[in-house]
């Protein structure tokens, strides 16, 4: 979009904009872009597959079938069948089914982790930004300290000894990922705190709790939450990395990480075991990231500036 085109578009939309909430404008702006639609429909398709196919398929993701082992994916190599569109692994388990079940866990962990990160980071940022003073200094120094430890070291340090169950993984990833949100939230709250409506509410006798949770939290958190879609993708990669290192959800439950780690041993004979789940993960992440990038640009446009 050129600079001229943007000003006229902004002018035309100005009347309309005043009556709509910021989050609706961000969502509408993103929906107007091609990349958001590609991402959205791509993600929807994969999500439906992950939800439906393992339920209706006659196969079991953990059932071994030694006679049908190391079958290649469709049209690639000798002995492929329609029964196993992505081939089978070293024990004859269906790769498509395993990838889809892995995707379920990956999404579950990714989304819950981001919700946890948003909750902790949002609250810390809200308190630090609104209270200011000593609360701010203490909370932000802790945030800085945690930001300077690479979260993956933290995660493997804890999961290396604690049993890597699903709640443990969500907790560890969430606890190590919140500092960025706390920082952003704090700076937004600090800017909002000085505005007239907050001062007005104070004069009218609203308590701090009311201002913080009824006024500032929904207003400041929504724009951040939109962009958190990008972090769902990032957390799914983290989950896969943990699984790859053997610290994720444990076998026989298939996850992207442990399938790829296993398949790595058969790379030369059966390349698809390690690579096919990755293609699946890549498509899911790419659609999430396209949606996230479109939302981010739309948010930047709504808040002024160039997208």
């Amino acid at each position: 979009m050129t600079a001229e085109g943007m000003t006229t578009a902004a002018g035309a939309a100005a009347d309309d904009d005043r009556t709509r909430s910021i989050s609706r404008r961000i969502a509408a702006g993103a929906w107007a872009s091609v990349e958001f639609k590609i991402g959205f429909f791509g993600f929807l398709g994969i999500l439906l597959m992950a939800l439906v196919w393992p339920e209706i398929s006659a196969l079991d993701p953990t059932a071994m079938n030694v006679r049908a082992r190391q079958l290649p994916p469709l049209f690639l190599g000798e002995g492929w069948t329609w029964a196993h569109p992505l081939g089978t692994d070293q024990l004859g388990r269906d790769m498509l089914l395993r990838s889809l079940v892995g995707l379920r866990y990956s999404l579950l962990i990714g989304i819950s982790t981001v919700l946890l990160m948003l909750a902790i980071g949002g609250l810390v940022g809200l308190f630090a930004g609104y209270r200011g003073g000593l609360t701010d200094t203490v909370l932000m120094r802790i945030t800085d300290a945690q930001l300077s430890i690479p979260m993956i070291i933290l995660a493997i340090a804890i999961l290396g000894v604690a049993r890597p169950t699903i709640p443990a993984i969500i907790l560890v990833l969430g606890l190590s990922g919140w500092p960025v949100y706390a920082r952003v939230m704090r700076s937004v709250v600090m800017a909002e705190r000085k505005k007239e409506y907050v001062r007005g509410a104070k004069v009218l006798g609203a308590s701090d709790t009311r201002i913080m949770f009824r006024m500032l939290l929904p207003l400041c958190l929504t724009p951040i939450a939109f962009v958190a879609v990008l972090d769902v993708a990032r957390m799914m990669i983290f989950e896969a990395v943990l699984g790859f290192l053997g610290l994720g959800v444990q076998p026989p439950t298939p996850t992207f990480g442990n399938i790829i780690a296993d398949g790595r041993k058969y790379l030369v004979n059966a390349w698809w075991i390690a690579t096919m789940p990755g293609v699946f993960l890549f498509i899911t992440l790419a659609s999430l990231n396209l949606m996230g990038a479109a939302l981010e640009r739309s948010r930047n446009r709504v808040f002024g500036g160039v997208g």
């Binding site: 390690a274 993960l281 992440l285």
Partner: protein, 326 residues
Amino acid sequence: MFVVTFLVRRLAQGAVIIFLVSFLIFTLLRVVPGDPVRLMAGGMAPEELIEQIAEDMGLRDPIPVQFARYMGGVIQGDLGQSFLRPASGAAVGGAQFDDATRAERAEVLTLIAETAPMTIQLALLSMVFALLIATPIGIAGGLYPGRWPDRLALYLGSLFVSLPNFWLGIVLVLLLSVKLGWLPAIGYGGFAWTILPALVLAIEIAPFILRTLTVSVAQVMQENYIAAATVRGLGRTRIVFAHALKNASVPLLNLLGVQFSLLLGGVLVIEFIFDYPGLGLLTINAVLQRDFPLIQGIAIVTSAAFVLINIIVDLAATAIDPRLDY
């Protein structure tokens, strides 16, 4: 004078951060289950011996006491000795509890000093690759917002950021090393072994550079002084490369400071896949073996690096743009 007060203030803040990081890691390691002495002495060692070793090493003292003792050493530049790694060779672990050689354990500082240059080499090379990939596309995207270079930057960024690094590593090994035989992949035997891991790492970093550059170039191009430069009769090339890029590079520098931990996380996984003998591989092994002093040492060194890089970034940013005030 400004620089001196700035340095003093930032170094003091940095010291606080490093202290907090060491305390966090130190406490965390002792709170989570898993006894390192059991790993050191081996599964066959009798219970009394375990207790005695733990007692001798001071591992049964209260955590604050242990921490004070440890920090006392750190201040004098002593990061302690590894629990498991012998000073002489690469052999790892303590299979036998009455092993006489256990006394000569490697110094943490030496272990870090040996591996850090490898990691720095990897990180620098990947940074070069990432800049080579991202700068042209990012600048083009920023110059034509909404048009095809911008779209290209958006799509490329979204695709790159969606590639899981360990999977990309495996695919590239399969293609470039196994099938084509162009590049060596596993272990380290010279500079050529750095190229493939650096490429994977570069693809992980590139999207962030791409996004930051696109946004910052687009923003700078809307400034008044850029419009004024055209009026002053300067050519387009000169405006973009001499005027716009200089200011647009400040957010890029800041990115380097903020995304330092991303870089480290990437290094960790990539060194593990490629069996590249750097700090990342050392860290993963240390964590999996519960080698407390080594993990603590690495945490302190990396957080110190984080602090220093951020100070250098801020100094460089003020040098580029004197309006900035820290």
